[in-house]
Symmetry: C3
Subunit: 213 residues, 3 copies
């Protein structure tokens, strides 16, 4: 299971680092700011997961491959921004894949550290959405993770499928594939078919109402 | 003391989750974004406290009751937003109560883990204000915790009273009640009687002066 | 090495707390909000480092000197804002010094906890830039750390010099001095001589292009 988590993690790191680097370029950061944002987006989810289960130092810090992969994504985006931007539909697919693999790897690692099923689902979801949240916080925006259609719920579904599969003692490769597929299906359904969740219809006055705190 | 910390934590989680969910609805997040914000606001303070004292996995992750209570608050806010909003003065009271119980529970848990009194007061304050800070960061606003009248200072007072009471070996239930009362008194005095701390009177040019970094 | 790390940490805490307090005053926070921001800016880097290497409770929580030094910087800024602001060029120098000492102390502490050289450089950089990042996030701005000329790269250079020096088993005081000097040189060269890194020249349409997530 360790090899599986590592492989999923590295794939997810690369695609999220791409999305972080693109956000950095769009906000006119210099090359090193772009690299920092690529590292943050690619690794914040995994680092949070490792801190929460007590696996310190986190893999993303202790294992140089996470750093190298993040820097590769950042440098590629910086020098070939035009190309990456034209491939943006592909990036959207990769981002969905990253979400899926992080949600699944987060849930698997939490189970391996002896956490209970509910906690494992929660950690998988956090691992999936953590990188994108930090990326958007760093460019001073409301995390699109919170607004995008079926984003967090897709991560939840992926983590949930894996945890249920492990509880039923199904083969880990099968549950992993099913978890990734479930997350991808929801996210792609939302992107291409417009699936979405309801929002509260707030009046204009409610919208601008001052926060009571 | 464990039962006491758990009880205080669950009450604080519920009321802060309510405030997080309301912020989510105001920013037009979908139902799952609202739930994520409810969980973040309700549990960020406690998770930070547990990470800082080395209690991993944090109670808010490992114990399903925190999740369920956060989701309950989120769902209630989502489906009954109009009602919750009309009860906003009540929510303001609950928020003050949440601040008080988190500040006290944070200080008590830090003492139970062998931290010194100064560290326990600091951790109690962080536990109290952490959830509200993350809630506001996630919707891209300056944390109202930093601006609201006597907010952080009320948390400090609550944590301080508990730590002094424990140092004097007074009964824990009495010091807990006194800590909650001290925090509530300062916060409610600020809300209803306009108590406040001074700010620096900066000129317009100082205000718009560019940050040197 | 412990005394060295402590001394560097306290110097860095003071100068970053100054910068946090000034940001707080500029955003019209009350005196306690200013103190919270001073503490956050002065200690976020060190706390993050300690969490990531498993040194809990973090020194900034467990050792009262960090708190006292942060509060001193906050109170000084609050009561003598005009003076501190006139000394802003000096503050800029102090900030460069804080960046240098935190980057070096972060790398040294990571090595002392047995992390590998790449991880130590990464941790040193994070320790250096962490405080400034949280300061800017808390006032809802894109971290200037990500935009300022040669900021993160200067931290990286300082951490890198120390790690290389330790690998070559040079005396720690000499590598520390060299690391601080390398970071300072890059940062001051950027401030006074205009050294900078390239950015991608994005067209207006690229700039305003919607984030795909």
């Amino acid at each position: 299971m360790e090899t599986l988590v590592l492989g999923l993690d590295l794939v997810g790191t690369f695609v999220f680092a791409l999305s972080g680097a693109m956000a950095g370029v769009r906000h006119r950061l210099d090359v090193f700011g772009v690299l920092v944002l690529a590292f943050a987006a690619g690794n914040a989810g995994g680092i949070t997961r490792d801190l929460l289960i007590g696996a310190v130092p986190p893999a993303a810090i202790a294992d140089w491959r996470y750093l190298v992969i993040s820097l590769l994504a950042g440098v590629a985006t910086f020098w070939r921004y035009g190309t990456v931007r034209r491939l943006q539909n592909a990036v959207l697919l990769f981002d969905a894949l990253g979400l899926a693999v992080f949600a699944v790897s987060g849930a698997l690692k939490a189970l391996a550290f002896g956490l209970n099923p509910v906690a494992a689902v929660l950690l998988g979801t956090l691992t999936g959405i953590g990188g994108g949240m930090l990326r958007d916080i760093l460019v001073a925006q409301i995390p699109t993770v919170l607004r995008a259609e079926l984003y967090a719920v897709a991560a939840l579904a992926g983590a949930g499928v894996v945890v249920i599969g492990e509880a039923l003692q199904l083969p880990t490769t099968a549950t992993t594939a099913a978890g990734v597929a479930a997350c991808l299906a929801l996210r792609l359904g939302s992107i291409y078919l417009g699936w979405h969740l309801p929002t509260v219809a707030t009046s204009k006055s409610a919208e601008t109402h001052r926060d009571p705190h």
